[in-house]
Symmetry: D2
Subunit: 349 residues, 4 copies
Amino acid sequence: MIFASDNWAGAHRSIAERLLQESAGFAAAYGTSDLDRRVEARFSEIFEREVSVFFVATGTAANSLSLASVQRPGGITFCHSEAHVIADECGAPDFFSQARLSPVDGELGKIDPAKLSKAIAGFPENAVHHGRATAVTITQATEIGTVYALDEIDAISAICKERKLPLHMDGARFANALVALDASPAEMTWKRGVDILSFGGTKNGCWCAEAIVVFNPDKAKEMSFIRKRAAQLFSKSRFIAAQFDAYLDNGLWMELARHANGMADRLRSGIGASNSARLAWSTTSNEVFAIIRKSAGKTAEDKGAKFYEWPIPSATPDLVGPDEILIRLVTSFATEEKDVDGFLSCLAS
Amino acid sequence: MIFASDNWAGAHRSIAERLLQESAGFAAAYGTSDLDRRVEARFSEIFEREVSVFFVATGTAANSLSLASVQRPGGITFCHSEAHVIADECGAPDFFSQARLSPVDGELGKIDPAKLSKAIAGFPENAVHHGRATAVTITQATEIGTVYALDEIDAISAICKERKLPLHMDGARFANALVALDASPAEMTWKRGVDILSFGGTKNGCWCAEAIVVFNPDKAKEMSFIRKRAAQLFSKSRFIAAQFDAYLDNGLWMELARHANGMADRLRSGIGASNSARLAWSTTSNEVFAIIRKSAGKTAEDKGAKFYEWPIPSATPDLVGPDEILIRLVTSFATEEKDVDGFLSCLAS
Amino acid sequence: MIFASDNWAGAHRSIAERLLQESAGFAAAYGTSDLDRRVEARFSEIFEREVSVFFVATGTAANSLSLASVQRPGGITFCHSEAHVIADECGAPDFFSQARLSPVDGELGKIDPAKLSKAIAGFPENAVHHGRATAVTITQATEIGTVYALDEIDAISAICKERKLPLHMDGARFANALVALDASPAEMTWKRGVDILSFGGTKNGCWCAEAIVVFNPDKAKEMSFIRKRAAQLFSKSRFIAAQFDAYLDNGLWMELARHANGMADRLRSGIGASNSARLAWSTTSNEVFAIIRKSAGKTAEDKGAKFYEWPIPSATPDLVGPDEILIRLVTSFATEEKDVDGFLSCLAS
Amino acid sequence: MIFASDNWAGAHRSIAERLLQESAGFAAAYGTSDLDRRVEARFSEIFEREVSVFFVATGTAANSLSLASVQRPGGITFCHSEAHVIADECGAPDFFSQARLSPVDGELGKIDPAKLSKAIAGFPENAVHHGRATAVTITQATEIGTVYALDEIDAISAICKERKLPLHMDGARFANALVALDASPAEMTWKRGVDILSFGGTKNGCWCAEAIVVFNPDKAKEMSFIRKRAAQLFSKSRFIAAQFDAYLDNGLWMELARHANGMADRLRSGIGASNSARLAWSTTSNEVFAIIRKSAGKTAEDKGAKFYEWPIPSATPDLVGPDEILIRLVTSFATEEKDVDGFLSCLAS
């Protein structure tokens, strides 16, 4: 009953075995092997256009270097006020991009387009004292389990285009969002105006597989230097490539995400039907936020369940009753039905 | 016949299988799992004192964050003029440490203590215009296959202590150096006055396993923030831990280095005995530098051998004859006797 | 009728003449002249304790280097959401300190202590993902003309002490605040727990005279390197010293601030008594925020008045009527009664 | 008898009086005043083409921001191994540009073109590990008093053009070099292929007047943000403009440099004719390097002379006899004949 985070899971067996298989033999280092090239080409297929791909070690690296690649002095990157980049990356995006992250509010973890417009308008061109708007980043799926609908991405993107701001998408849970929307990778990204993507594999069944995908390869010219200077170029890069190779084979990545989301659906159904717990807000990815009785939480923990208590959002101070807590439950490719059902039975008890 | 670099090898089977085994099950993320803790403790055993250990993604990261952790504004880090940190890391150590790398010459890839003393003396304390000496870094084994003897490390260390400069060791080929010296990890590091070590596993049989080892844990307090801000904290950190676990089990790491050095010895013997090739300089680790006939190089390449032609050192412009080339040959845990013998026979042909 | 900003004024005649006088003769460069030393010593007298003083070129430099001097990796500096450091310095404090500025709200331009406590509480010690609270900065007088009372500084300071966070004061209008409070420099700073001060002279009658004052000289050891590396060490530093020398002579600085505040009082009285304009909020320094009729603003501008229209604070969207505008009026040492009266008569017309 | 440095002088009376005159009245801040605009336009006249001009506080700032403006990740800036940027600016150029300064040798303080070519050749395009050549900077006049002839600048410039590297000139003693070459500002800069210039006024009679001159204004678009973020935008910018205004009036700047160089000529003649001292090497600007008897140095100091003993260049260890010292003598606009003659008489004694 591990719902603490999807990164508490290990690696999917197919991916782990693909790594074992890759362990033999020799290959050129630093991302120049045949396997590296072949897997990079697969990204172009998946996204239905030529893209540039850069493997890095962590999701924080993917976000930080993506944002670094589009920055200019005095720059400001707009993100949701609860986004991972601003809340959970220890200032790495600020450090690498030398830009300030400026938080924008919005319901359900999504940037409110009107608020974004207003925030950007506070930075007229050439107003040197204020600094300048230089990028926007959205998280898909969001930190609180919701997913931008395609037209919601369009709304953000339109604002970016008007001011010629590059749009980055943090896709640490990219596959889960695709499943939730039943959209194609292209439809959810460059067809909506996304310029650069953090494509995450780690949370969805890899050991360590993160990639920066740049949709306009002309704009990726600096990235190989940015990555190397950031100490993110693996010598045995093919071990990342091998993971992605297995991940993308036969749609495994979508299958794993579908499983994770399905387990979350099972949680959502169970909690929705419960008398003793309720959903804090509606989510569609592999994260579920629930309000449960403290005693039920204690029971679950005693039985080995792992999950995080979540801070009450300041906008809804009365969300949670006196004997209740707000918790986050994250499912993954490795979550089993019995874990879900076991947890649900703890709530009922 | 792959002698291009030790990072062209894959992973040793024991390590790859340990990874496969670790793929199942759940564990706490971000370096807090039991396995992470246990492997960190193994480092203290190996070094015969309590140490702080930080896993990172690349050797460049280990060097860069090590140097960052001991820097102060206006700082200067002294390194050998051919060191990896200054020659092959795209400015990453400068970027993370915000210090200048200042090259010091010395024969056979090793910093000359007299030249180091003189270089440091150019930076008296509080001479704000010049900047200030803040660190020294040595590479063990060096970039050109040599190894600092223990008393050579003592000589560097004594200079550092006099000016209270922290001494860092880039141990990308740490195990190969240990084997070459027949020394213990403690003897080659903190007992000699080394303060911080980049402990490399990748070149010696891991997929991706690098660690920063801080010998005085009191001085490691900032490192967890430095690492996270550098986007180098793995979520599934235990996969690094698992590699190190297998690497350290039953002295596997030493065995692999012994094998690599032994294969280099075989190369050295063969070349030393050859009429048609000669050693460019004496080495004792897993790197061999040889002067061979151009035609022999061509023959070897035609038969599938991989190696790099090396630039002629500016101090010895006449090292190489008109029909000759200088080449670097690197052996690894995966090099086989038949590769060595096959290559030697190409030279003779 | 120049009320655009106090930095539109020139230099007070005594200061300008002191500069002329200093132009002859030779003296040691880079802040080592007798005059530099003597003026630095005057700061210790004025603050009634030994302090370390560092002259820099701009108020932005004073703030940025102050904050840089107390930073650690992953750090977060808390400031008011409208503070100059976050709103008007083009990211310089972020750039030099490599810390994120995190905005905290509060009425009348002052940080709300309860909100500060809550904001800091979001960063428990060693929570590496979030980053960590490392500094607090307040502006005295604030960007909107108000002044922290001494006990209001105490309240902020107490929060800082509890978490051992250094407290910085941006004193670009330090003298105006002193006059408003009728407090001594010591009372308004280190006796309240302020650790480091940006002491501004430029807005109050100097050409270019800004100083960083560190109240605990032990903590100033890195500053000379931080300053030089930031390209802020003047070769002919004594010209900054000379300005401060004249500025501090016979209490000139307090006299100039008293004059500026007095002119603001005259504006406040006039506007308070007016039928056609009103004060937007109460201020006590040399800044006045008024709501006037658009037509009156037009009249004043036609007669040569200079002032800035100010954005309506989001907390009070109904502050200004349909035919009105919110304006900022700043007085200085050079403002004359006839300017004030001339402006007031425009409002009435 | 102050020969310590030209920045020990004060300000020329015309410049100091122009500052006094500017002290009255009001003007728009942050470089937008009529005077700022007018003085910027004078630079275009002086350089015989449209240029972009940015005032900054120090020569170190001019160099650092110039180099920052042309950098890309992993960049390397080539400079002479004794250049001010690498030897005397506490790492500021490295800090602001995030590029490494790579020293190139050359006789008489000037980069040797052949060595520069070879150094750059070590960084082939796209060799991500090494980093990449991104800029070249030369100092005119050099740190040791020599001056690049126009065709020597051409030789450096040709190398830059071949690799499309921007060429920066550190003109802290720009006027002294112009006088030495009897060249026009245009002839010594953009007509030779210089792209960006640090134009120094401080050492030649101003209090504090340094400017970055960008010869292709299209390439200056980022500079206003770079400058503001570096805390180098003066609020009362017109006080820099006023200094330059007086400096450039009626050729004052050339007259002052001619005087300084003339006083150096007088020193050179006297030392050349002396039996007890000799020139260490030939210089043509306002710096003179002489070998004198230790006793003569002592005598001169006892009589109040100020000068710096200079380190013996490592290329010429036998330059100085056992009872001799190498000294640097710098003249300025404020040096008088009697100072020179007084010093010469000390040498003879």
